[in-house]
Symmetry: C2
Subunit: 545 residues, 2 copies
Amino acid sequence: MSPEVRADQFAILVRDIPSVSEGQSKKEQVDSFFRAIYPETFYRSMVVTNNKKVNKIYEELVGYKKKLERAEAIYAESKKTNPDALKLSHKTGFLGIIGEKVDSIEFYNDKIKELSQQLEAEQKVTLKEKHQSSALVFFNSRVAAASASQNLHAPIVDTWTVMDAPEPRQLIWTNLSKKFYERIIRQYVVYVIVFLTIFFYIIPIGFISALTTLDNLVKLLPFLKPVVNLKVIKTVLEAYLPQLALIIFLALLPKFLLFLSKAEGIPSESHVVRAASGKYFYFTVLNVFIGVTLGGTLFTSFKSIENDPNSIFRVLAKSLPQNATFFLTFVALKFFVGYGLELSRIVPLIIFHLKKKYLCKTEAEIKEAWAPGDLGYATRFPSDMLIMTIVLCYSVIAPIIIPFGVVYFGLGWLLLRNQTLKVYVPSFESYGRMWPHIHTRMLATLILFQATMLGYFGVKEFKPTPVLFPLPIFSLIFGFICQKKFRRFFVSPALEVVSHELKEVPNMEAVFRSFIPPSLSAGKTDEHQFEDALSHVSKPGSSSV
Amino acid sequence: MSPEVRADQFAILVRDIPSVSEGQSKKEQVDSFFRAIYPETFYRSMVVTNNKKVNKIYEELVGYKKKLERAEAIYAESKKTNPDALKLSHKTGFLGIIGEKVDSIEFYNDKIKELSQQLEAEQKVTLKEKHQSSALVFFNSRVAAASASQNLHAPIVDTWTVMDAPEPRQLIWTNLSKKFYERIIRQYVVYVIVFLTIFFYIIPIGFISALTTLDNLVKLLPFLKPVVNLKVIKTVLEAYLPQLALIIFLALLPKFLLFLSKAEGIPSESHVVRAASGKYFYFTVLNVFIGVTLGGTLFTSFKSIENDPNSIFRVLAKSLPQNATFFLTFVALKFFVGYGLELSRIVPLIIFHLKKKYLCKTEAEIKEAWAPGDLGYATRFPSDMLIMTIVLCYSVIAPIIIPFGVVYFGLGWLLLRNQTLKVYVPSFESYGRMWPHIHTRMLATLILFQATMLGYFGVKEFKPTPVLFPLPIFSLIFGFICQKKFRRFFVSPALEVVSHELKEVPNMEAVFRSFIPPSLSAGKTDEHQFEDALSHVSKPGSSSV
């Protein structure tokens, strides 16, 4: 673990705090609870508040500030060319079309002043009255925080639940105060929805692959006939049409899955991404790999699999060879088009230049338009895993796919290494928590491959097949040992590691402050007021309660 | 948690300590590891040693001491009646029949002296050289120990594994140093053996119930005919013979299951008892309840259940009514004979008086003969659960069983409350860890009952049956909530509870000493030698290493 001070290593997230007893504030309750257990290492606490209203005001304020900046930039620009330019004006009503006409800069200034006051008032109310049943608790040593995040604190296990705090920038405040059983119920409801989504998307995919053979397309849309009959276009379309349909189709889903994962009540962005990518993985493997493989015989196959679950490998082994060409072109398309777009970043480049020319007026806006954003684990990892599944499973049936796979992952290594190191800017750090998730799914893919291979060899009546039977068992044992040997360290920090010396003495005040959301810390001229509202009880050095 | 000082609340058990680096003793390794993480709360450590040889010498020594005491008592007795009585003598060879004739008291005294020296030498060797890969680590506060027992300590999860220390008297030293993967493998091997045992005991039980109808018995053993034809005997035998056979048969198993559970590598006696009682529960329910219910049609039933798993409840519902009488008498026998024996303790009484008259010569021997022993959870709880299963499942089919059940559990409450409070002496305390185990199995029984009831109603074509379908679902949800709400507290101590003030300042030296096995602490005249061997590094107050 790095010797630098990281704020999240000194904090834990406490949820499901029981309701407060008469005459005590939530803050006092949390402080007295943790001070009793950790008299020496407890630093102070930050009760999670309901920030809905204060956030709304803050966003409005930020919006008006941006608009003001923009209006000033436009005014300055127009003054350069024409010194007598009029000040900007707009109408206050719907979309700036109706209503009173006002001077923009003046209007924005007034609004900002008004909202600043509102914000300050709302901040006070929020910090005083809108306490929720969760809190961030800070400790003055990493060992104490790491240990507290793993301990059971109350005899009733569904109260005072703890976990190590995520980074401040990836905390999802709205999810922090979701109740214990609410989270569980939400999780199950989301699972059911995902299950339904996965299985009902099979129907549209079936439609699409039936539609997108060229003959069908011509039959349905006869006006395409003259275009399609050109030989070059026909060849290209026939080769890439079904794959293109599939790729576009797959692009629709991730947002929905991210939304669903967030609705589960997960407290950190990285965990949401992880959960969404897991769901997307099931979706791609089930729908693209198995769906396309079984193709038109999908429903009859499902019936025979339901009656005899063991037949799944035989069915797969029989249907796989028919689709070798499809997947070969799928992989090729992925790296020709996909990596080409990735490396050249041609689409973001065009968008940036268009934005710069026609929309961006201020420095800040240009900077925002240029920002490359995140790597996007939620979709990138499942689609890589899909290629891996395809390449592994076809490696026995149509070995020609192996060089395609090698090129895909080889190029991917070169390219994405460059992109992650030099292009993308990660918006949060999960300290490698994605890895066990990927590892498990890679193993699952490996076992699927081994089983399909055994089934295929069985169908082909390859005599020495039984020799290979131990393979999936070895994979399972390997997975089991990895699980036992490494898994928990990805979930909880090991004390031996956090007990290493730090480079510098942590500035606990800065650690604490880094967790305050911008809507609550903005516009604070005197720091003291904040101290007052947030920590009048647990200020270090104050007499204990 | 009680405010009294309990030694095990200050200790944790550390296993799977990685091999030591060159030039460092195991002791130093453990001390430096824990002192780095817990600089203020770490007290000292006790490395687990291989005590096989020292235990053997110690047991021999204790045996000779008992023999000496006995010989002296006999000599004193004989002197009372005859002042010139000869001193006792015996032969040293096999069973005291062959070999040199020696004076007993002198011989025993010599032996004790010789063994005491051997013990001392062996103790030194053991403490210095026979270090194993596990240790007991002591902390000077309950919170620190409770917290340490729940934390991950090393990034490689299968090393430095920790758990809260069991009571000193129930620690199984030989299991402490079993390796991580060895324990897992042992566990699976034991599970397979138990599975085989449960399923192959069905065959002898089938034989026995076929044999023990009276007609069969007479056919097989014709010389019994005159006895059996007496009307009274015939009635009694016909009613109770099969049940008696079953009860005797069931008495054979527990020892074997306890042995198997211990072989899993479990570190505490109470956990072994718990594991054995779980295994015994599966055995009784599967063999007695389901085995007897399905009776002769057992194997055909199994086949039809294998083909259609859902049919199990229909099969049960059809076969249950035929066995109502059998189980009614089974329950009645259990409380008439079982509770009668339990309350009167007639068998232990007879054994005690026989022993006292013919075997016991010294005070200590009489005391030992009188000791009532443990309650014996391993067998008592599964057989109560069997009665519960029987009563619940038959409550719909033959409601006459309900009063029998009420009497069984009502009497049981009165009787066993008395026995546990005033008769039995528990040899260890597991702080209620048995309860969640019982609770889960009670719920399983409840769900089995609900499913059987639904099946029975279905067979009888009782129209409003569907109204009852939510019942097992409610039971499942109830079990799920209990699991979430309470389970973890039975596994790990909650810090809120252990942070309560203690009545007295713990004497850490006494806490530490209470964990030293008798074979290592016996015969120590100067305490200092022990200090020296066990704790030359971690003696409190010494300069840190």
